[in-house]
């Protein structure tokens, strides 16, 4: 279990704490799944090799979060919970953390359940994405599946006689063909954009926050399903 922010064991050194916490898991090892993790290997995996002898309180935010992940997996869990692991990270730390999650998912036989507000992150990391709104699951599928479903409605922007227009349509090709047939040369600045997962999510959140969550969730459901 890796929560958003841990502050414990500040006086302990990185390696010392991992060795200590690993001891509790030793009796749970099985021939197929040796427990705990080899500590030095683990420290390398989470990229804290240079900091193994440092006090935990002296780690930076990103290092501390990787330390927490190391603690979370020292017992080689079959299921790992990560609660918004990259909240408050700079882009560099976020990228490093994403690499770490990929490595864990690839190397170990571990299921990772990660909560995030960053759809980009979800798209990058997850095999399966669930979107929750108002306590209900309103979307469920792989990143590909979700964005394919989501792209049923695209946004068409153009300008005519110096005026800008926006239109959403399920069949943009047909719409644009019609547009040209009607106005021909008068159309300029044409732009067709499939709605991304994030766009749909954003509009849902906006609706949700303006207090029309019930309707928004239903609409979203219609779009997705």
């Amino acid at each position: 279990m890796v929560l958003q922010s841990w502050r414990d064991h500040g006086k302990w050194r990185v390696r010392e704490l991992l060795v200590h916490l690993g001891r509790y898991y030793a009796p749970y090892g099985t021939p197929g799944r040796k427990r705990p993790y080899d500590v030095d290997e683990l420290i390398e995996t989470v990229g804290l090799g240079e900091h193994a002898g440092k006090k935990i309180s002296s780690l930076s935010g990103g290092q501390r979060r990787r330390m927490d992940v190391a603690i979370g997996i020292v017992g080689r869990p079959e299921l790992l919970f990560l609660d918004e692991p990259t909240a408050g990270f700079d882009p560099h730390a976020r990228r490093e953390f994403h690499d770490l999650v990929h490595r864990l998912a690839d190397l170990e036989d571990t299921t990772i359940l990660l909560t995030t507000h960053d759809l980009d992150e979800a798209e990058k990391l997850a095999d399966r994405i669930l979107i929750l709104a108002g306590g209900t699951i309103i979307a469920d599928g792989s990143a590909d599946q979700l964005s394919r479903r989501m792209s049923t409605k695209s946004e068409v922007r153009w300008s005519r006689d110096g005026q800008s227009f926006v239109h959403s349509d399920a069949d943009p090709t047909q719409f644009v063909r019609e547009l040209f047939r009607q106005y021909g040369e008068a159309i300029s600045d044409l732009e067709v954009r499939p709605a991304s997962l994030e766009d749909s999510y954003m509009s849902l959140v906006r609706e949700f926050e303006s207090g029309r969550e019930g309707r928004a969730a239903r609409e979203f459901e219609e779009v997705v399903g």
Partner: protein, 248 residues
């Protein structure tokens, strides 16, 4: 290996690691040394004063009393403080999220607090032995009494400290707990024989462990004649059971 045994083993190591951490931390060391130093200086100036009814130095009487007080403090206040801080910063939550982590945590904490008590005992006793005359440090009986009073004191105070630590809502409320504790120290006969206080105050002091721990330490380290300054019949000897029975 059995999971509980693994946790106890981890807890023992945990105690050792935490003890090393506190002994290599400048601020912690300052906390260990500061109060005993102040007390030793004060007691040194009091060495000329005699305990009423005897010709024994008030300063030398205070040494074992202060040791008893520190053992009580270690078990009650320090443990409660540590528990509150570690509940706030997530150390306890971490222990709960680890298989048998709470068992290991408790074993570690008991060892850490016991070790800290031993250290603060030595910080008072070693200089005290050089500065003051009259303490019985050469007999085996003194040391064995010291050992069992220390052990009993830890066994008695650590659970109470753990309860206080888990009941207080946060670090700020520790101040409220400290004020009555200081009051108790003042009335428990640490710096002045308790028989010099009003009887009702003696009764209050006897309800709490600070009195009993300092009494036990005095019985270990002071000569038998000093029992006369304790609650009980004048001329009594060091027998906690007699002190228990007779009362003021």
């Amino acid at each position: 290996m059995n999971p509980s045994m693994a946790a106890v083993g981890a807890g023992i190591r945990r105690g050792g690691i935490e003890l090393r951490q506190t002994l290599t931390n400048a601020q912690d060391m300052w906390n260990y040394v500061f109060l005993p130093t102040v007390l030793l200086v004060v007691m040194y100036f009091l060495r000329g004063h005699k305990v009423p009814g005897t010709d024994f130095s008030l300063g030398a009487m205070s040494i074992p009393s202060v040791i008893g007080m520190q053992v009580a403090f270690g078990g009650l206040v320090i443990l409660a403080t540590v528990l509150i801080i570690e509940r706030e910063d997530g150390t306890l939550l971490r222990a709960k999220a680890t298989p048998n982590g709470m068992l290991g945590y408790l074993v570690g904490k008991v060892l850490t607090v016991s070790g800290m008590s031993l250290v603060s005992l030595a910080i008072v006793l070693v200089p005290g032995a050089f500065l003051f005359e009259g303490m019985r440090l050469d007999s085996l009986a003194s040391w064995s009494t010291l050992a069992w009073v220390l052990l009993l004191g830890l066994v008695a105070t650590i659970p109470v400290g753990a309860v206080i630590g888990s009941l207080l809502p946060g670090p700020r409320s520790l101040g409220f707990a400290m004020v009555p504790t200081m009051g108790l120290v003042a009335t428990s006969g640490i710096f002045y024989p308790i028989t010099g206080f009003p009887v009702w105050l003696q009764w209050i002091a006897q309800v709490f462990p600070i009195y009993w721990l300092s009494l036990g330490m005095r019985s270990a380290l002071l000569p038998g004649s000093m029992a006369a300054a304790e609650i009980g019949v004048p001329g009594a000897t060091w027998k906690p059971s007699e002190s228990l029975d007779s009362g003021p």
